[in-house]
């Protein structure tokens, strides 16, 4: 039940901007506005062909970028600023607000990634359906009626759908576990280990389906090549015995 992220290009103007900052190796605290604005607008041109609603959101930010850029080009009126105690006295860097927004956005973007990692860990743990006690009654996990709402319904439904998937399985697929050669090699070595280091050649070919026979055979060939196993035959057409090769292995030959 892992959550797979679909990679899309950009999640909005801020995302695009972050991408550009990364790519251009720009210091976010000292953004060269002219360069960034140019790059940003160039990308907008590429998007323009598409004429989509989202474009407006990108354009808003473009306007902001241009505004900041032009503010930075204005000559600093040193005298003025000193003489008059206007708000220009403490005029901030025109980039400050943008930087703050970018940093705030980046924070949540990263949080999204760490949540996703956590979801992946969680997905390694499987659980079971609740026991069927319907003959005896319902399990008393109750929701107070005054508190229930449509979201409880959705939650209940989703949970049930997931359970259904958990339940579907087992019988059909079990027979046909497709193993790679390397997995099969591990399995053979583990079986050999368990059987005290040797076994009949034929006993390794238990299953009926051709695929498994082929994989097993290839695995044995590969193991022989690596001298992990040795196959002995007493006489022509006699029984073949597979023996763990070389020095004793500890079974953990992965």
């Amino acid at each position: 039940m892992t959550y797979k992220v679909k990679l899309e290009a950009f999640e909005g103007p801020l995302d695009l901007l972050l991408h550009l900052i990364n790519r251009l190796e720009i210091d976010i605290y000292d953004i060269p506005m002219a360069e960034l604005t140019n790059q940003y607008i160039e990308h907008l041109h590429a998007m323009r062909v598409l004429e989509l609603d989202e474009l407006s959101e990108y354009l808003v930010l473009a306007a902001t970028l241009i505004e900041i850029k032009s503010k930075m080009l204005l000559p600093v009126h040193e005298g003025e600023a000193l003489d008059e105690d206007s708000e220009f006295d403490f005029e901030e860097d025109p980039r400050d607000e943008l930087v703050a927004r970018l940093i705030e956005y980046k924070k949540y973007k990263e949080a999204a990634n760490s949540l996703l990692e956590s979801a992946e860990d969680r997905a390694d743990h499987f659980t079971k359906l609740p026991g069927d006690l319907s003959e005896y009654g319902e399990v008393a996990v109750t929701i107070p009626e005054e508190k229930m709402n449509v979201f409880d319904l959705i939650g209940a439904f989703r949970k049930m759908l997931e359970r259904k998937k958990l339940r579907a399985p087992l019988t059909a697929n079990i027979v046909k576990t497709e193993l790679s050669v390397s997995e099969k090699m591990d399995n053979i070595m583990i079986s050999l280990e368990r059987l005290g280091g040797s076994c009949d050649f034929e006993s390794l070919f238990e299953r009926e389906d051709i695929e498994d026979l082929v994989v097993t055979f290839l695995s044995l060939l590969e193991l022989m090549k690596r001298l992990d196993i040795i196959v002995r035959q007493e006489n022509n057409f006699g029984k073949m015995t597979v023996i763990v090769g070389g020095e004793e292995t500890d079974g953990n030959n992965r």
Binding site: E8, M47, V49, F126, L129, D132, P144, M148, L166
Partner: protein
């Protein structure tokens, strides 16, 4: 250090746990553990002995009708029945909520369909929901047995603050959440355009 024997026991336990009430046959176990059936039977037996010998284990392994199943130990049967109190008057159980959700989204729907979806019998919850006035019989299905079809009531809509049944929030069924195809198309196109720009253009 974990031995192979321990690992196999752990694996078997995790498989049986997932299999739940369905259990696993010996040949399924052998195939899953990728060992011989004799060896599989041996591992299963050792797992069973483990459970029986550990006084702090609440579960054990049983073989019924050719299926190995994990079950709770008999000594806890009375305690488990305690879990099954009747819900209080003004509350609804998780099971009932689930049944209600199924009926709300899939109505009109038969009990058999509900049972199939949930994987457990739903008679109890259906009775409760009818008694609470959230669902009612909406006729019968054509065909064998003419099973009852259930649907939600106006009281249900009222209780859940819905103007009509169409106002139920949509469910994303399956796992393709990508219902906003437009955005995707846009992104794909954009990425193409973007890559072209990157390659073709200014490599500062």
């Amino acid at each position: 250090m974990e031995t192979i024997d321990e690992r196999l026991k752990g694996m078997l336990e995790s498989f049986l746990f997932i299999a739940g009430d369905d259990g696993l046959t010996l040949s399924q176990i052998a195939s899953l553990l990728q060992i011989e059936t004799d060896a599989a039977a041996e591992i299963a037996e050792r797992l069973r002995v483990n459970y029986e010998e550990r006084p702090d284990s609440g579960i054990t392994l049983r073989l019924y009708g050719g299926h190995y199943r994990l079950v709770t130990k008999a000594e806890f049967a009375d305690d488990i029945v305690r879990m099954l109190e009747n819900p209080t008057r003004n509350s609804i159980t998780q099971a009932s909520m689930e049944v209600l959700a199924i009926i709300a989204y899939k109505q009109p729907v038969t009990r058999v369909e509900i049972d199939d979806l949930r994987g457990v019998k739903s008679d109890g919850p259906i009775q409760t929901l009818v008694a609470k006035g959230f669902i009612l019989e909406k006729g019968r299905m054509e065909g064998t047995g003419r099973p009852i079809l259930y649907g939600t009531t106006d009281l249900f809509l009222d209780r859940f603050g819905l103007e009509s049944i169409d106002m139920l929030p949509p469910l994303v069924e399956g796992d393709d959440e990508e219902s906003f195809g437009d955005t995707d198309l846009f992104m794909t196109k954009f990425q193409e355009a973007f890559e072209m720009t990157e390659e073709g253009g200014h490599s500062d």
